[in-house]
Amino acid sequence: MEKYSSLEVIRTGLKQGEITCLSLVNHYLDNIEKKSHLNVFLEVYAEEARQRAEVIDAKLADGSAGRLAGMIVGIKDVLCLKDHGLQGGSRILDGFSSQFTGTAVQKLLDEDAIIIGRQNCDEFAMGSSNENSAFGPVLNDIDNERVPGGSSGGSAVAVQADMCLISLGSDTGGSVRQPAAFCGIIGLKPTYSRISRHGLIAYGSSFDVIGVFSKTIEDNALVLEIIAGADDFDSTVSQKDVPAYSAELSIGTQKKYKIAYLKETLHTEGLDSEIKERTLATLKKLKDDGHEVEEVSFPLLDYVLPTYYILTTAEASSNLSRYDGVKYGYRSENAEDLASMYKKTRTEGFGKEVQRRIMLGTFVLSASYYDAYYNKAQKVRRMIRDATKSLLQKHDFILLPTTPTAAFKIGEHSSHPLEMYLADLFTVQSSVAGTPAISIPNGNSREGLPIGLQIMADDFKEAELFAFSKYLLN
């Protein structure tokens, strides 16, 4: 077991004086330095983290430290931290400094977590490989010729390569779960509205959720417990109480579960045979252990991705209109008047994939096509959500692979947007439905590449997801 694989191990080390927060921060800073070729961090808050570490070491000494003392966290370049740069992986936010700290990040800080830096990601969270960042791709630590997944590629590799204990990313269609699978770690996408979106750069507002990367279930549960809950700055956040997730991890050990898997997912054309094998093996083991495992059909599976792309590009085309060179960020120097200022700023500032999605989103919302595309997609979304929730009411969980393939090579899909979109096939369903899902490691391929297993549950059932995941991992 690695030295700093969990907060529990760290807390023991701190208590016994083997390590201090400062030595811990220095350890991570070393790793970041050693593996800078992975291009994970856009900005490292070295001095600041060291200073905070000293403060927290003092608090630990006098017993006033928060619940996350000793936890070093990295945040995806879509999360606001006051007076720190924020770019969304894009040039269009060059020079921008956040004027407030987002709720989730603030909650971490209030419990004495230390933020060590801002992590590279696909531009505006649009991508599945971290090849769309304006600041260069992130490399997978297991095989530097492969992608780590996206859009939260930097956040995943940071945890994978021991550059921090936890990363906060964002998941709109799989951007936390898919990189978690490609990097062999745990990635949680909570229920939509479980965590406040105040301080999260908006991509697809009715899909965006802050997600958590970790090495252990315990750490993931603790972080969620701290950052979830009601907030005055988000009108959509859930008012429901937040369970003490970290205390409920053993609830499922004696229980027998009802598990479903979707026939269509295991018969998908692009599904890698090893991944199919591993998934089937897990299902068999569960059956052997006395759980009910049922194959169900989900005929709407083919429509999940198109629904996702119509709705997220529509919302994104509107959410990205604020990047106009007027109030902040990049402004083109080549503009003679207002009209050209807008066009040049946005064309020069946004990358190709972002422009593609703005164009598509604009198209599906435009007057003549609204009904055929946007309105239609909203109807299909309701059907997908209802069908998914209906399954999740009859079964405790739905199991499926997180991704159709293991981490692919850099450049493999980047010239075919549609190919790249298909990589999200298994993760988008819970984004469209709003339900929570987690990806946990499920062994490696023969090439040594990590394989992920995805577990979906009904709304607000993160406690059950954690307990079941823990059970599966042991």
Partner: protein
């Protein structure tokens, strides 16, 4: 539904983007590929289904009408690409 040069120009203008000859062609090709793919949704019978307009479970989320501290004038103008003492500045609209 095929996207042509005209549609591209209209959408580009609405989204304040511009394309030159070759990037326009590439974009048209990409968009057509994606649009053809999403048209799959036509296959789904949505008769009688209401569009899903909010994913939140909350209703009547209000704020009381009490002023709270906002940004100082300096912080407000801090990120502005061009400004003076008081205002944000942008190029004029030229007719």
């Amino acid at each position: 539904m095929k996207i042509d040069k005209d549609t591209l120009e209209k959408m580009a203008h609405l989204g304040r983007l511009e394309f030159d000859e070759s990037s326009a062609d590439a974009m048209i090709e990409d968009m057509n590929e994606i649009v053809t793919w999403v048209e799959k949704l036509k296959e789904v019978d949505t008769e009688g289904v209401m569009p899903l307009t909010t994913m939140s479970y909350e209703i009547n989320v209000f704020r009381e009408d009490v002023p709270k501290p906002h940004l100082s004038h300096e912080r407000a103008l801090k990120n502005a690409p061009k400004k003076d003492e008081d205002y944000f500045r942008v190029p004029k609209v030229l007719d």
